[in-house]
């Protein structure tokens, strides 16, 4: 039995391998309200745990808490948009999607409501088990017509999406990275809606990744270099609208494709990539890294992410094992 344990609510894992920023979402939300003045942050009893207190303290008259009531969260947000405000909602993704699906679909997306849902605890970023881990949220949200779906990688991208979201027409579902969020990209990075971004030039392996898996893939690229493998990464920050052309072009430039997502391997990035590549006639050997088709137990994040193959180290190992298995048997 490991001496690691599931962390308490609000307790944060240590980040040792790279710099991090605290509450980048609040930074972006405050910046956009400073510019526009029409942002209202609404939360459902998770203000403290979705990093909105800095916003609340800066703009107390623009902060409302509906209590544990996700359906009210989403309908009130839709109504605020009818009155000309822009609602930035926060809760956990598991609750936003599972508890308020009809409301996000009909009260928001159907009427093109200017509602932005920032949904915490995506995939295995919480150790609280199946109830709290939003492992299928991208699949659920991208199936809604007119919904924009974003899965940011790091603190830089999180803050930029928060700042840009008000300008994106209609309803947006964005995975929320909260607490101490790693800084992976440099300050020159610019999030562009619907546009995948390439990192590196290696062509042996092309990682296509979203969310925090891009961080893990970038680290795996370094590790694979020691094995003589040159890889590159295509970060897909926007799940919908999906950059199918960019994905196909990238895949055509590499020998093998590895998809990586902090999401169940049903209906998320892997499904999108498979679809895009088949339709474009780009058939490459492909390995898919993601959460298996099952509910995940409670545990510490290093334990869970290692067990389910989402750490940089495990990404590298899975790629090497896949390459070994595929290697031609030497002629005798």
């Amino acid at each position: 039995m490991s001496d690691r344990r599931t962390l308490g609510m609000g307790e944060l894992e240590k980040i040792e391998n790279r710099p991090f920023e605290k509450a980048p979402f609040a930074r972006g939300a405050m910046a956009v309200n400073k510019k526009r003045g029409d942002i209202v942050v609404l939360t459902a009893d998770l203000g403290k745990y979705t990093d909105v207190y800095p916003f609340r303290d800066a703009y107390p008259e623009h902060y409302y808490n509906v209590g544990m009531a996700e359906q009210a969260l989403v309908t009130v947000a839709a109504g605020l948009s009818h009155a000309g405000m822009v609602a930035y909602c926060t809760t956990y993704g598991a609750f936003a999607t599972r508890r308020a699906y009809d409301f996000l679909a009909i009260a928001c997306a159907h009427g093109n409501a200017n509602v932005k849902m920032f949904a915490g605890n995506p995939g295995l970023t919480t150790g609280y088990g199946g109830t709290h881990q939003a492992i299928e949220d991208l699949a659920l949200m991208r199936a809604i017509p007119d919904m924009t779906v974003i899965d940011p990688c790091d603190a830089i991208e999180m803050a930029q999406v928060a700042e840009q979201a008000a300008e994106i027409e209609g309803t947006v579902y964005c995975r929320l990275l909260r607490g101490n969020v790693p800084v992976v990209f440099d300050e020159t990075y610019r999030f562009e809606l619907g546009k995948a971004k390439r990192f590196g030039t290696g062509t042996d392996i092309g990682f296509i990744s979203t969310g925090f898996m891009t961080e893990r893939c970038l680290d795996a690229v370094q590790a694979l270099r020691a094995h003589g493998i040159n890889a590159s990464v295509l970060h897909v920050g926007t799940i919908k609208p999906f950059d199918a052309a960019g994905i196909a072009e990238f895949a055509q430039s590499v020998d093998k494709v590895v998809t990586a997502e902090n999401h169940i391997l049903i209906g998320g990035l892997t499904s999108l990539v498979t679809d895009a590549l088949y339709r474009s006639g780009t058939l490459k050997p492909m390995l898919s890294i993601g959460i298996p088709d099952r509910f995940i137990e409670c545990g510490s994040l290093p334990y869970l992410q290692t067990k389910y193959g989402l750490t940089a180290e495990r990404v590298g190992q899975q790629v090497l094992a896949w390459l070994d298995a595929a290697a031609p048997v030497a002629a005798t």
């Binding site: 359906q71 839709a78 009818h82 009155a83 000309g84 009260a107």
Partner: protein, 285 residues
């Protein structure tokens, strides 16, 4: 019943004969939409004719020439399947052409069986998935207050919708945010898809009182009571208002009110002329 009027309203002195006549015209418009179709949400529509007459022709600040004006009072019809009643109003106000009424429910007609936001001017929300309206109306009331816009928000929900948990989430939020610019009406007509209310929902008024709303209870088919309740709801006292409105489905045509309490009225082909005649006869009594 009505308290002293403190605020300027478009038609400050209600003319009850005029409002009764408008309710009758709305019923005619509804019959026109339903005629020949064999079925429809006619019963519910007929039941709220007095309510809509008082709302659109007396209480609400709403200029049909500018249905999207920023300072208009908003009306959220949560029960989207009452669209037949809203089309009746919008046709009478000239927002939609009267000839269009007969296209109700037809392929490609904007007069759908349920309201869709953005398709017809004057429709504030997509209704039909029940339990959405009160929360949206609460958000609009909050947003208007933040915008320092004095417009008020009216919202109709139904007794069946009280079975939706989201209604009570919205009820809680509206009190928490002290939305006294939100005036809601629950249409208690006693019917839902499977027939008469399938689970007990009374005491309706006490439930809203317990949630912290200011509540009054009226006969929703008595125009004086409807207007009186709307005047009562003008109070700026820090709490949202709920008007519990008892209505009779099919009101105005006895033959329909006596029919088995039906959510979706079915009418034989040769019966429409009779219904039209009875509507006029009963109005003239």
């Amino acid at each position: 019943m009505a308290k002293t009027l403190q605020y300027e309203r478009p038609n400050e002195e209600p003319s009850f004969p005029y409002l009764r006549q408008k309710a009758h015209q709305l019923r005619r418009n509804m019959l026109e939409q339903a005629a020949g179709k064999g079925q429809g949400y006619l019963g519910q529509g007929l039941g709220v004719a007095e309510f809509l007459s008082a709302l659109y022709y007396h209480e609400m600040k709403f200029d049909p020439a500018q249905p999207a004006a920023a300072d208009r009072d908003r009306f959220y019809l949560s029960t989207g399947h009452y669209s037949i009643a809203l089309w009746a109003v919008l046709a009478d106000l000239g927002i939609i052409a009267h000839e269009e009424l007969k296209t109700y429910g037809a392929d490609e007609s904007p007069l759908e069986m349920s309201t869709i936001a953005g398709r017809v001017p004057g429709v504030e929300m997509t209704g039909g998935s029940l339990g959405h309206g009160l929360g949206i109306a609460a958000g609009a009331a909050l947003g208007l207050r933040l915008k320092k816009n004095p417009a008020r928000v009216f919202c109709e929900i139904s007794d069946g919708e009280l079975q939706e948990g989201s209604t009570w989430e919205a009820a809680t939020a509206a009190v928490a945010f002290r939305l006294d610019n939100l005036i809601a009406f629950v249409d208690c007509n006693g019917i839902q898809a499977d027939g008469p209310l399938v689970v007990p929902i009374e005491p309706v008024a006490d439930k809203w009182r317990a949630f912290g709303w200011a509540v009054t209870e009226i006969d929703g088919n008595a125009i004086e009571q409807v207007v009186g309740a709307m005047h009562w709801a003008r109070a700026e006292n820090g709490v949202p208002k709920m008007i519990v409105m008892r209505t009779l489905p099919g009101k105005g045509i006895s033959r329909l009110t006596q029919r088995e309490k039906a959510h979706f009225v079915r009418v034989d082909d040769d019966e429409w002329d009779t219904l039209r005649r009875e509507l006029e006869e009963e109005y003239n009594v």
